[in-house]
Symmetry: C2
Subunit: 283 residues, 2 copies
């Protein structure tokens, strides 16, 4: 069957969105649509322009015999700020205060469109950083890590507090928890990471940064590099921090007794120069 341009554009949008960060040859598309190379090249010009204008992402063109196109999901700094405002507004509720300096965030972390938004903004900032793996700690961080990993199209790695038989052999470390002032343990499967991997750490909540420290120590054991660390929600304890990390939302006041809370946009939004509107056009 012959495809019209309109049909090709719809299908290519679907296909590229399902295969982020993956190189697809032009000949894949010419065969798929029984179309001339020149037609597909024109399609890609239209896709590229529209993806950028509508804040869907970049389409990179890789020239040469082994070349093709690659879709890089990425949004504009304006859209990222809008999402940040919505998230802060949703987090900024005294009903979320739990005993012991914790926050109820589960409703956000089980809601597909919210997870998708958070995944998109985090992945956008690290889209051009050659990330190989997203790392998190069980269990609350997992949905966030999965959402970010999907946009970056890399596997995610789950560190756990205790070994599971279904993981096989593990590597473990002990790390300081700033919140409890105790030494805690964390482990990952030996198959999780490789030497030289470039890792993005993602977690739901940080109170002091101890678990990020732990994950960094684990990555070190593999000879992997931490390229960045982002948490959804940070309880303001900057002074204790050993490793820098970014937060989407920052709790500046948390009064358990009087059920008072203040939340503002976190350090993630201080520098959005990696987002779509700041990336220069190719050639």
């Amino acid at each position: 069957m012959k495809f019209r341009r309109s049909e090709r554009l719809i299908d290519m949008t679907d296909y590229l969105k399902r295969h982020p960060h993956q190189l697809t040859t032009l000949s894949f598309f010419t065969k798929r649509y029984d179309a001339a190379k020149s037609s597909v090249s024109e399609d890609i010009v239209i896709l590229k322009r529209t993806f950028r204008h509508q804040g869907i992402g970049l389409i990179e063109t890789v020239p040469g015999a082994t070349g093709g196109v690659r879709f890089i999901p990425m949004l504009s700094s304006q859209k990222a700020n809008e999402i940040g405002d919505v998230l802060v507004e949703r987090i900024n509720s005294p009903k979320r205060i739990l005993t012991g300096g914790f926050m109820y965030l589960t409703d956000l972390l089980v809601h597909p469109l919210t997870l998708d938004f958070i995944g998109r903004i985090i992945a956008s900032k690290f889209a051009l950083k050659d990330i190989n793996a997203v790392m998190t700690v069980a269990t609350k961080g997992v949905p966030l890590a999965q959402s970010v990993a999907r946009y970056l199209n890399v596997p995610f790695v789950i560190a756990r507090r205790e070994a599971k038989v279904t993981e096989g052999a593990t590597i473990s470390i002990n790390y300081p928890s700033y919140r409890t002032n105790r030494i805690e343990k964390m482990l990952v499967s030996k198959k999780s990471l490789n030497e030289g991997d470039r890792v993005l750490i993602v977690d739901d909540f940080s109170n002091g940064g101890g678990t990020i420290e732990g994950m960094t120590m684990l990555a070190d054991e593999f000879g992997a590099t931490i390229v960045g660390s982002v948490v959804l929600c940070e309880l303001n304890a900057q002074e204790k921090k050993m490793r820098p990390f970014e937060s989407i939302a920052k709790i500046t006041k948390l009064d358990e007794m009087n059920k008072e809370i203040q939340v503002e946009k976190g350090s993630f939004f201080n520098d959005l120069s990696m987002l779509l509107d700041h990336v220069k056009e190719e050639g």
Copy 2:
């Protein structure tokens, strides 16, 4: 700015894919593109035809003043079978055999494109069943549940073995584990489900169906209905089953001593009459 048809089709494909199962009014699109209603209606005819032909899903048109369009991700039974074959081939490896009747499946459950495939086929079969929530048990089932929930655009519910402070109040039950012949405990947050919810259970692995039994009992406590239960991988123990469930892959032989395994497509593929190619065109 005025949009051309090609630009509208690309952006509508992106928008609809990001908002599955959600009703979007025509006037949303006419405003977004500064376009006439007749133009947008023609766009939708093209989208509808292409989405069906390319196995992306259904576009339902809801007539009237409060009407609009709704994208329902759904693939064809042929594509579902192809994905099933690939998954069975990947699971069918003696290297996956772990001690005690367990299987190493982590590599599949942390890989975005694989999760996406599994989520798509499961969600396709239940796309027209008015599911409100996807339920699973921590921790291995969570990525699968998240992937299915994203395609159905409903929240997912995580049952746990032990309470977490960040969940608030919980409801718990005891259930029989067929594998260990012991009574085990499972709990969920009180906020997880509502009376009348229609629930799809998703899990990574089942050996006898005990955890599905447990999740069904939990749902009963809320007055919610289990519409279906699907596991990625089933160890063949049909005779013990109390509740019926479907499996993507069925292990018909697992010999730990001699490291032998046999895997075939599971009962999920016995009936694919709910998939895209069997759904009739609207009036």
